[in-house]
């Protein structure tokens, strides 16, 4: 093979290399792209359950008498898909369509001398997705600002269809000075002007 032929072959090989690299690069870039649908949902109902948080994690109360210093509330939100689910929920971003604009928990009766009946007790509770581990900054305001209230990421539920339930927890950090029977009112206001309110059953905190 002459020098010219060798050079020609060399350049041909080089071009093949370049083309192949470009092809691989294109495949790498575009193979990662797929349709990521949004799973939009709305909170349609709220139920609250008294919880005993004496153990490693809270359990729904089996009696109406609970230790005040280990009291928690499980908030069970019923959520429904908003619109049609188009695509695989496993690769979806879940978002609440009708945002929660305010959250308030209060007592039907005077809680203490500074928190009379119907006064907000938001400062007395921490808000989390589990009771065994709430960080000190997990306040209700923080959860509200971070849009964590009623947040759900449940691909299997979304696959199974409407509606599904998701739970958050309120952990009481300031037990009442006057122990006794309590009923709490939990109220959510939404961005579209609607509200959901739930009044718990009686619980004896001692």
């Amino acid at each position: 093979m002459s020098a010219n032929q060798q050079r020609k072959v060399f350049y041909q090989m080089k071009n093949i290399h370049k083309s192949f690299l470009l092809l691989l690069f294109t495949i790498v870039i575009f193979s990662g792209c797929s349709k990521h649908p949004d799973v939009k949902y709305n909170i349609t109902a709220l139920t609250a359950y008294h919880q005993d948080n004496s153990g490693a994690s809270a359990v729904d109360a089996s009696s109406i008498t609970l230790p005040a210093k280990a009291y928690a509330i499980r908030l069970e939100y019923t959520v429904e898909l908003y619109g049609k689910l188009d695509g695989d929920p496993n690769e979806a971003a879940f978002s609440l369509q009708n945002k929660v604009s305010s959250f308030n928990i209060s007592s039907l009766t005077d809680y203490d001398s500074t928190h009379l009946a119907y006064a907000s007790l938001n400062d007395y509770f921490l808000y989390g997705s589990q009771t065994s581990r709430v960080t000190n900054n997990a306040t209700i305001d923080y959860a509200l600002n971070q849009q964590r209230i009623g947040f759900t990421y449940n691909t299997s539920a979304a696959n199974a269809g409407n509606p599904w339930q998701t739970s958050d927890y309120l952990v009481l950090m300031h037990p009442p000075t006057n122990l006794g029977t309590r009923m709490f009112i939990i109220k959510l206001d939404f961005a579209n002007g609607t509200s959901i309110s739930y009044t718990t059953s009686s619980v004896i905190l001692n």
Partner: protein
């Protein structure tokens, strides 16, 4: 989909390396003609592959640290190391140049370090908070504390040729950054109450950056040529290696303890120490070889 991406990435990188090797080796081409006299005396060391077993020293010098930090900064477990990005330990020679295939300078990107198992530290915390649930037990028990040094390394080496064997002592100096970690706080919940305590460890590197590490290495290898009669023989060097690493470092450590509703209690102290380990393993790399001018004819 992610698996495919990974596969394509490896194919891409592999092919890129292969293509570059071929280009570098194409000295027959005219534009490399001028380099021929140069290349007769100097040779290029291509990226190599190391597979090694890395053993940190049993004594870390942190045995007397307070607040359980003697266990937190305890003895890392030994681990195997392979090329980047697998594991804490990797040794990747980007390029090297040798004079008369003897004296050489090398340029590496490397990483070393280890993971301290958290069992002892978890036991320390259990004793510290006897009436608490370790609500974050998953993190404590399964997440080790990393000693993690990564950066470039420059080496000087001398190859001693003994027939087909090569004995190669090396000395490398590294310019690494130690990664300091501020993990999420461990949260402890008191039994029977809603009282929580957070325990967090914040690390800050106080060594002047980049840090230096010192590596003494000895390789014993053999050159093997395959397809000797082919137009382009395939030559590679493979061998075993032993390496000692010494890396001084300084850390400022802050231990925060926060029982909700109470002021945060912080304790700070400095660690001035050295990370020491040795590794032994195998290595291999492709050797650029002049192509045969006339292929042999049977």
């Amino acid at each position: 989909m992610k698996k495919n991406n990974l596969l394509f990435c490896f194919l891409f990188i592999g092919y890129a390396a292969f293509a570059q090797t071929k280009t570098a080796d194409s000295t027959h081409h005219k534009r490399f003609e001028k380099l021929k006299p140069f290349l007769t005396k100097f040779s290029i060391g291509l990226p190599d592959i190391h597979f090694e077993y890395c053993v940190p020293f049993k004594k870390t010098g942190n045995e007397n640290l307070p607040y359980g930090m003697d266990k937190y900064f305890g003895v890392p477990k030994s681990e195997t190391g392979f090329d980047f990005p697998f594991g804490n330990n990797f040794n990747f020679r980007i390029i090297a140049i040798y004079y008369k295939d003897k004296l050489g300078v090398e340029f590496y990107y490397g990483g070393f370090g280890g993971i301290v198992p958290m069992n002892d530290f978890a036991q320390y915390l259990e004793k510290k908070y006897p009436n608490h649930y370790i609500s974050d037990d998953y993190s404590i028990m399964n997440k080790g504390k990393d000693y993690d040094f990564k950066g470039v390394q420059f080496g000087i080496t001398y190859k001693i040729h003994l027939k087909s064997f090569i004995i190669e002592p090396k000395f490398k100096i590294g310019f690494e950054t130690q990664y300091a970690y501020n993990y999420e706080p461990y949260v402890f919940k008191e039994i029977g109450t809603n009282n929580f305590t957070e325990y967090q460890i914040e690390e800050r590197v106080t060594t002047r950056k980049p840090e230096h590490s010192y590596h003494a290495q000895l390789n014993v290898g053999k050159r093997i040529t395959l397809f000797k009669r082919a137009k382009r023989p395939f030559t590679f060097e493979a061998g075993i290696k032993g390496e000692y690493i010494y890396a001084p470092y300084s850390l400022n450590v802050k231990v925060n303890e926060h029982t909700y509703g109470m002021p945060i209690v912080s304790n700070q102290f400095d660690i001035t120490n050295a990370y020491k380990m040795y590794s032994f393993g195998a290595y291999a790399f492709y050797v650029i070889q002049k192509r045969n001018k006339k292929p042999s004819v049977k």
